[in-house]
């Protein structure tokens, strides 16, 4: 997957977690947590969904890498390049 595709996947997963989340004017460099009503349980849901879809194991120590849309893409790109 390329950057754009990964970005779309993350947004799709967030939308599945919270269908009321307004992702239209999300600032991609700012923490998702501050812009949407996401808590630590929501991030766990994202991790579990990525594992289900792409067999990707994200260790707990790496969870902070998922803070913003940009950091998600940067972290996932090398890991999902063959997906």
């Amino acid at each position: 997957m390329n950057k754009e595709e990964i970005r779309d996947v993350i947004l799709e997963i967030i939308q599945d977690i919270d269908e009321d989340a307004d992702i239209s004017d999300l600032q991609s460099d700012l923490p998702l947590r501050d812009q949407l009503d996401l808590d630590s349980m929501d991030f766990l849901d994202i991790v579990m969904e990525l594992r289900k879809r792409y067999k990707l194991q994200i260790p707990e120590a790496d969870y902070p890498e998922l803070a913003s849309l940009d950091s998600c893409v940067a972290y996932l790109e090398p890991r999902l390049k063959d997906s």
Binding site: R51, K52, K55
Partner: protein, 468 residues
């Protein structure tokens, strides 16, 4: 429909969940939705664990439906379904009555701030500081500060304020002033978010809806299926033994108590020396007593509030609250609005209690003490509902021994373990591959919301293992 024996279960599953408390139910649901083959086993004839109810002469008594935080709505929507979320409704009248104060509150931050400022004369800035501190607390914080120290820092010498802040949480999760401040802060701020909520239709309806959801997601459910042991070979889970049958499983998620899981089901020999050491400081929390009062059909009672924290003890005193003769009890009132269509009133009095105080009695003493407890509750309740004694046609008591019989928990604990249990529960799979534990541990992961969320956290661990 769930099977009522192990007979119909298949020979092998990806996951066997032992026990159907809210944590076990949620782990099972989450793992089934993730695509795993799941078998859920429950020793009792009914699912729900302590989230349970029973029927007597047309009355339906809820055992642990006393009020949970607003966060249940989001949690139920995400990990169960929207219909379950939509049945969550607010309890607006929470009453405190004790020698230090009498007040009614919605039990949320705005109302509490107002009460602390006007009734207790605490400066606004101090109240804000306190809320900011507890809101900011999280699991990774320093654990050395106790709740007592936290209260003394913000409200020195104010035993009335301490009581207002502590008493409901002691009833909610068995914690006291000597437990780590974060175990208080996390639970208290969950409630303070938006107040106290309940499930419209009662526990029976909730568990019914959850059962339906589990079956839609393909979970095989067997009740009356007591697991004898978890089969472990070479440090790895192989399956479970139930009623003479071996069921193979790649992972086992135990929703039995943490000590039951390690000592009775897996057997201590399955664990490393290091793990056994970590088990030593684990303290099982105290238990509860309850008195169930059913109001005759056709009779009504006045609305005196949804949840009454009552005590005639001069100050908050955790020891006094555990005493068999305690003067402190919570009354949960269930009006017809709790179960729309079921036009009945029930009242449940809950007290904290020590298992030993009840287990040590002879059977005659035990029966007598139960009668005396019912009597004390009625006398107490007459203050709020004069004539209640004559309106009731069903009176029954439960003790820590009752909780032990139905949940099989070590010493009948109704609140799981103290703080040290959490680390053991979280680390169990690092010691025995494929073995996970979910249940009330560490005070934080208890109550309905804590149990469900912990079920999700553990399901994530189990899923990671299954896909590795």
């Amino acid at each position: 429909m769930p099977y009522n024996s192990i007979e119909k279960a298949a020979a092998a599953y990806d996951v066997v969940v032992i026990g159907s408390g809210l944590g076990g139910l949620t782990s099972a649901n989450r793992l089934a939705r993730a695509g795993h083959r799941v078998l859920l086993l429950e020793h009792h004839h009914r699912l729900g664990g302590l989230a349970t109810w029973f029927k007597r002469q047309g009355h339906i008594f809820d055992v642990s439906l006393h009020g949970f935080p607003y966060g249940m709505r989001k949690t139920c929507r995400k990990y169960w379904n929207r219909a379950i979320m939509d049945s969550i409704i607010q309890l607006k009248n929470i009453v405190f009555d004790n020698p230090q104060f009498h007040l009614t509150t919605t039990f949320d931050k705005n109302d509490f701030s107002e009460i602390l400022e006007t009734r207790f004369q605490v400066p606004r800035s101090r109240i804000l500081d306190f809320f900011n501190t507890v809101d900011g607390m999280n699991f990774y914080d320093d654990r050395s500060m106790t709740t007592r120290e936290l209260f003394e820092t913000f409200f020195p010498g104010r035993s009335d304020v301490h009581r207002l802040l502590m008493e409901p949480i002691t009833y909610a999760n068995g914690s006291n002033l000597d437990d780590p401040a974060i175990t208080y802060g996390i639970v208290f701020s969950n409630f303070m978010n938006k107040g106290v909520f309940t499930f419209s239709g009662g526990t029976d309806r909730l568990i019914g809806m959850m059962t339906e959801e589990l079956e839609n997601n393909g979970v095989t459910i067997c009740t009356r299926s007591l697991v004898k042991r978890i089969v472990i070979d070479n440090g790895k889970v192989r399956g479970v033994e139930v009623d003479g049958r071996f069921i193979a499983a790649k992972t086992v998620v135990s929703n039995a108590g943490i000590l039951n899981t390690v000592e009775d089901l897996a057997g201590i020999d399955a664990f490393s020396e290091e793990f056994r050491e970590s088990l030593k400081p684990v303290v099982v929390n105290n238990s509860s007593c309850q008195v169930y009062m059913g109001v005759k059909e056709g009779e009504t009672i006045e609305d005196i509030g949804d949840l009454l924290f009552t005590s005639s003890s001069p100050q908050f005193d955790a020891e006094e609250m555990l005493d068999r003769n305690t003067k402190s009890r919570t009354f949960s009132l269930y009006y017809p609005k709790t179960r729309p269509g079921h036009d009945r009133y029930t009242i449940v009095a809950s007290m904290n209690a020590r298992y030993e105080d009840w287990a040590s009695l002879s059977s005659e003493e035990y029966s007598r003490e139960k009668q005396l407890m019912i009597e004390r509750c009625l006398i107490h309740l007459e203050q709020y509902l004069p004539g209640i004694r004559d309106k009731c046609d069903w009176l029954e008591a439960a003790t820590p021994k009752t909780f032990q019989r139905y949940t099989l928990h070590t010493r009948g604990t109704s609140f799981g373990t103290k703080f040290e249990g959490l680390e053991v529960s979280r680390n169990i799979f690092k010691d025995v591959k494929g073995l996970f534990h979910v249940g009330s541990v560490g005070i934080i992961m208890s109550g309905w919301l804590g149990a469900i969320n912990y079920g999700v956290i553990v399901a994530n661990d189990a899923d990671a293992y299954l896909r590795s």
